[in-house]
Symmetry: C2
Subunit: 245 residues, 2 copies
C-alpha cells in the first residue's frame, strides 16, 4: 500500500522535507491534498483526518503521514520513522539520535524563518506587522543565520566520517533537509546570503551535491516541485532582506 | 555510569521536561551545569562540550544528554531516547511515534510561549520589545492556547485506552511534559487560564494526577525543582496576561 503524505497544497512548506526523502528513495506515495475529491483525495480529505472525532491519534497539523492505520505527525518524527524504511537513516542505531537531533535543530531554524515575516501573530496579515517583521528579520540575518550556519558547518567539519554528509558516511534525510533549509534561505534572503559559498563552503557543497542527485534533480524539474512562493515559510520580501552585518 | 543532563542552571526551561522523566523513574543522573567546577562540573563543563572542536557530534544548545560517549541533543529527542530505558514510553512500538508527535507539538507550544515575551529578537531585552510582546501574548491567549489545548483535550478524549493518559494505557514522558506545559502556562498566564479546569477537565485531571505521583511530588518539594521565574520560558509579566477573549 502507498504511503499517504498529507500537507497543504500550493506550497513547499514543511511537507517538502518529507517529500525530498520520498523522492530520493523513489518511494510510492500519494500526495493526498493535491488529489481529486472524486477519488477521495483533496484538502477536504486531509481536513477530515485532522477533525475526525474517532481517529485514535489525531494529528494537530500537517504534515502528517499515514502508513496503513498509523498516523504520524510532525516533520522530524515522520522522517525519523521513514528514514530506516527508505534507507535514508544511519545504519548505526545510536547515530539515528544524532540525525534526529540535527533534524530538530533544522526545524528550529525553519520556525525562526517563518517568524521573520510573522513575528507578532500568525493570525495577522504580514502587512499589519511589517515593522516588527523587519526588526525580527534583521536579527535573524545578523545573529541567528550565522549562529546556526556556523554550527552546521562545524557539524560537517567534525563528522568523523568526513565532511560530505551531516551524519555518518552516507546520505541521510538530514542532508536532504539541510539542502532544503539552505535553498529556502537563499531564496528568501539573497542579499544576506550573498557570500554563503565562501562563508560555509561545506554546506554550499552539500547543497550542490544534493541538487545533482539524479532522483532529486528529476524531482526539482518536475511539476511536483512547487516553486518557492510567498504563501510559504521562506518568503522573498525585499524589505526584510539586507546584507549581513 | 550515571546519565549526564546538561542544561542552564537557575531555571526550569526545556531541561525540566527531561528532569521530570528522570525523577519519575528514579534514574541516576548528574545535573552537570549545577555541579562544582572543582569536580569537573559547572556551566564551564557544559560550554566545553558545546564548543568542543573534536566532539564528533556536537550539540547546538542545551538541553543535551550524555549517555557514555553518546551525546543526544534536543528535548524531544532526549525523551524519545530515554523513554523506553526509563519505562516511560508506550510498549507498542508504533505508539512511540504517536508519543513523539505529541511531544513535538508540546515543544511547539513551548517555543510560542517563549516568543510571547521575545517576539522580535532573543538578543533584545524584554523591555525593548514590550509592545510587540503584548500583541503576541494576547494572540497567544486568544488564539493559540485554545487551539492547542482543545487539541490536547481531544487527544485524551479520543485515546482508545481511556482518557487518563495522552498515549496508551500507562504513564509516558508525554504525560509528564503535558503536566509541565500546563504548569508553566498556569504560572505565566493565571488570568487567561482562570477557567482551565472547566474548559479542559481531562487536562486538568492529568495535571493534578502527575503532581500527586510519589516521585514527582517528592521532586517538586525538593531543592532540585527550581521555582518558575522570569529568566525562564514561562514568565509572569502581568502586562502580558489577560482574560481569554
Amino acid at each position: 500500500m502507498s504511503l499517504e503524505l498529507y500537507y497543504w497544497d500550493g506550497l513547499q512548506g514543511r511537507g517538502e522535507f518529507v517529500r525530498l526523502a520520498l523522492e530520493e528513495a523513489g518511494a510510492d506515495y500519494v500526495e493526498v491534498a493535491r488529489g481529486e475529491p472524486s477519488e477521495g483525495l483533496g484538502t477536504g480529505a486531509m481536513m477530515a483526518v485532522m477533525k475526525s472525532r474517532d481517529e485514535p491519534y489525531p494529528p494537530f497539523a500537517p504534515p502528517f503521514l499515514k502508513d496503513g492505520d498509523l498516523v504520524i505527525a510532525q516533520t522530524a518524527n515522520i522522517l525519523f520513522y521513514l528514514g530506516p524504511r527508505l534507507n535514508l537513516a544511519p545504519s548505526v542505531e545510536s547515530l539515528r539520535y544524532v540525525a534526529n537531533g540535527l533534524q530538530l535543530t533544522i526545524a528550529d531554524v525553519v520556525t525562526e524563518a517563518h517568524d521573520t515575516h510573522h513575528p507578532l501573530a500568525a493570525s495577522l496579515y504580514y502587512e499589519d506587522q511589517k515593522d516588527a517583521a523587519k526588526t525580527r528579520a534583521h536579527d535573524f540575518i545578523d545573529n541567528r543565520i550565522p549562529k546556526f550556519m556556523k554550527y552546521f558547518e562545524r557539524v560537517l567539519k567534525q563528522n568523523p566520517a568526513g565532511d560530505t554528509f551531516m551524519v555518518g558516511d552516507s546520505l541521510t534525510y538530514v542532508d536532504l533537509s539541510m539542502f532544503q533549509l539552505i535553498d529556502g534561505l537563499l531564496y528568501a534572503f539573497p542579499r544576506a546570503l550573498k557570500r554563503f559559498g565562501e562563508q560555509y563552503p561545506r554546506l554550499a557543497a552539500l547543497h550542490a551535491a544534493v541538487m545533482e542527485r539524479p532522483n532529486i534533480a528529476a524531482y526539482l524539474q518536475s511539476e511536483r516541485r512547487i516553486e518557492h512562493n510567498e504563501a510559504c515559510i521562506f518568503r522573498r520580501y525585499p524589505e526584510l532582506d539586507k546584507a549581513a552585518a
